[in-house]
């Protein structure tokens, strides 16, 4: 079992890439700050690599999980107007989303 990280492994470019994947428009100042902080955090959490885990099954939930199905009974949902009242933008009784297609489309 090798320890997967050396200190400072997470570069500024990698943080920028991860932020893009997570849809975070981080600033240059944040990139500088986070790269250093996350390198230190990654160094600490990489300790998990020290554990001897041959034949150990992973735990996703601490309690036994079984699929839960409910009775197939129709129930009223929240009224449309109530739900749309919390939306940042609504139009014609629907969520209005930002532009999803480019100019050429």
């Amino acid at each position: 079992m090798s320890t997967p990280s050396q200190k400072g492994q997470l570069s500024r470019d990698e943080v920028a890439h991860l932020a893009h994947l997570a849809r975070l428009a981080v600033t240059d100042e944040e990139l500088d700050l986070f790269a250093g902080q996350l390198a230190a955090v990654l160094d600490a959490v990489a300790q998990v690599g020290k554990a001897a885990v041959e034949d150990v099954t992973p735990t996703t939930h601490a309690v036994p999980m079984t699929n839960v199905v409910r009775e197939d009974v129709a129930r009223p949902s929240l009224p449309r107007d109530v739900v749309l009242a919390g939306a940042p933008a609504a139009e014609d009784g629907r969520f209005r989303v930002p532009r999803i297609l480019g100019e050429e489309a």
Binding site: P4, L10, E14, V15, L18, A19, H20, L21, A22, R23, L24, A25, V26, T27, E30, L33, F34, Q37, L38, A40, V41, L42, A44, V45, A46, Q47, V48, G49, K50, A51, V53, V56, T57, P58, T59, T60, H61, A62, V63, M65, V68, R70, L78, V82, V83, A85, G86, A87, P88, A89, F95, V97, P98, R99, I100, L101, G102
Partner: protein, 507 residues
């Protein structure tokens, strides 16, 4: 006010119930708390939202109904992670500023059905990510024991509200220690229930396999009362355990009798014991040892227990929780609720989403989303997230092996007393260390309670009692015994009397 005076805000809930049954009105009780909030919350900033008119109207409604039983008419505060129909809910984040949920969380609905009066929503670290409440987008909350110090976190608004007499009790949530740690730092009792025993429906999700709501209260008995009111199976939460809740109030009452003969107590070496005391304050360890000795004096058999995998709990937690958070927080996309930034018709969905999340989330939330995204990404998944899940199994195995030999495990709740505001905000690793003792029970899903064991340098110290899954009653029994013994030793009415005495002498 007739039967009630300002002393109401220093009453335990069982005393409030007696006063209400004896003719006090919920309006009087509620007004006493609202007055206290008006007087003290300018400094403490425990609440994010208080609606005095709504609270008094609700109290009047309860009075008019004439129901004097159970929790009818008793005020309560809710951490702002609990969604409440028509009442602003932010989870401490700018991204949800102004949002009014269209439904109630099960916890909120059950408290409403029991006749409680909602005083307000309490401050918290943004999306419950933090140990000091300094990560709130709405400013810091101060510790009533020392306003220059943190009230703990992430349920720091709830802890400050209850310790400061701004609520008789409050709901907190605990993902890695966020009920127990703030309770410890403010001299309260806080219990993290067995995972799955209190519904998560309507809690704004941080780390779904770890999040649990639970009580924060002035006494063990009050905590048990509140726990019974919110606990039990909920078909709306697919991880809810379909089993009856153990009897908790009765256990708390019996525990206070102080007979622990036959109880086997394990002191966890890895949480402050020999060779594992780095970062622990001497005053905390002294208070903890005195608490253990007090359990022994009541007949408990004490032995040291080793749980080697606990040394890796912090590393495993700070991979698992950010990984789950990076996925859970994807719902904040600026489409269905909350903030939307930059939607000018020129920018596309991806850009609007990225700008919305950039402006809506604070630094700690962004750090954890980035870390979680990394830990779950192809090529790193096995080394980080997969490995952390296996460590989680090892921690559960250590608990199981320990509980073959002992009935409960004990440790300090936190390595230190409340630290000064600002001391750790720029150092994530130092901040994470505040959760050192509470993380193992979170990862294993077992119940754990924090009860005050004394003061160190004038600040409260918490004593943690952990039990096997579904044996929450053991936590209450042992905590009640320790609480009763220490109260008798001091000769006062309860731990918070020490804070009241200090404030009395200062004014």
């Amino acid at each position: 006010m007739s039967a009630i005076n300002s002393d109401v805000t220093s009453m335990n809930v069982d005393e409030l119930q007696a006063a209400l049954a004896d003719g006090a009105t919920s309006v009087d009780v509620t007004r006493a708390y609202l007055d206290r909030i008006e007087a003290a919350d300018g400094e403490l900033r425990a609440y994010l939202h208080v609606d005095p008119e709504a609270a008094l109207a609700r109290a009047a409604e309860i009075d008019a109904a004439g129901d004097k039983s159970g929790l009818a008419g008793v005020p309560v505060a809710l951490k702002d992670v609990v969604v409440t129909e028509g009442v602003p809910t932010t989870s401490g984040s700018k991204i949800l500023e102004g949002w009014k949920p269209p439904y109630d969380a099960t916890v909120a609905a059950r408290l409403k059905a029991a006749g409680t009066v909602l005083l307000g929503k309490t401050n918290m670290d943004e999306f419950a990510m933090g140990s000091s409440t300094e990560n709130s987008a709405y400013g810091v909350t101060r510790n009533p024991w020392d306003p220059e110090r943190i009230p703990g976190g992430s349920s720091g608004g709830s802890s400050a509200a209850v310790a400061g007499g701004l609520a008789p009790w409050a709901i907190g949530t605990d993902t890695g220690g966020s009920i127990r740690q703030p309770a410890a730092l403010t001299g309260l009792v806080g219990h993290k229930p067995t995972y799955g025993s209190v519904s998560r429906f309507g809690l704004i999700a941080f780390s779904s396999s770890l999040d649990q709501a639970g009580p924060m209260a002035r006494t063990v008995l009050d905590a048990a009362l509140l726990h019974e009111a919110i606990g039990g199976h909920d078909p709306l939460d697919s991880t809810s355990i379909d089993a009856p809740l153990p009897v908790l109030v009765e256990c708390a009452r019996r525990g206070a009798d102080g007979d622990l003969s036959g109880l086997r107590v394990g002191v966890v070496r890895e949480l402050g014991g020999d060779g594992h005391a780095d970062g622990y304050e001497d005053g905390v360890l002294e208070s903890f040892r005195a608490g253990v000795a007090r359990l022994e004096s009541m007949g408990a058999e004490v032995r040291e227990v080793s749980c080697p995998a606990f040394d890796l709990a912090l590393a495993a937690y700070y991979l698992i929780a950010p990984s789950e958070a990076s996925s859970n927080l994807a719902r904040f996309d600026g489409v269905r609720y909350g903030l939307r930034v930059g939607d000018d018709g020129a920018r596309d969905l991806d850009e609007v989403m990225a700008l919305t999340r950039e402006q809506g989330f604070g630094a700690e939330v962004k750090r954890r989303i980035i870390l979680g995204t990394y830990a779950l990404s192809s090529g790193y998944y096995e080394a980080y997230y997969g490995q952390a899940q296996k460590v989680r199994t090892l921690i559960s195995r250590d608990f199981s092996a320990a509980f073959d030999d002992v009935d409960v495990l004990v440790s300090p709740t936190t390595p230190t007393v409340a630290f000064p505001l600002g001391a750790r905000v720029d150092d994530p690793i130092a901040m994470y260390a505040a959760d050192l003792c509470t993380l193992p029970a979170s990862l294993a899903g077992v119940p754990a309670i924090s009860v005050p064991s004394g003061l160190s340098e004038g600040l409260p110290v918490g004593f943690q009692i952990m039990a096997p899954a579904l044996a929450d009653d053991r936590c209450y029994r042992v905590a009640a015994a320790l609480e009763a013994a220490l109260t008798a030793d001091r000769g006062d009415r309860g731990f918070l009397d020490q804070l009241a005495a200090r404030q009395g002498s200062a004014s």
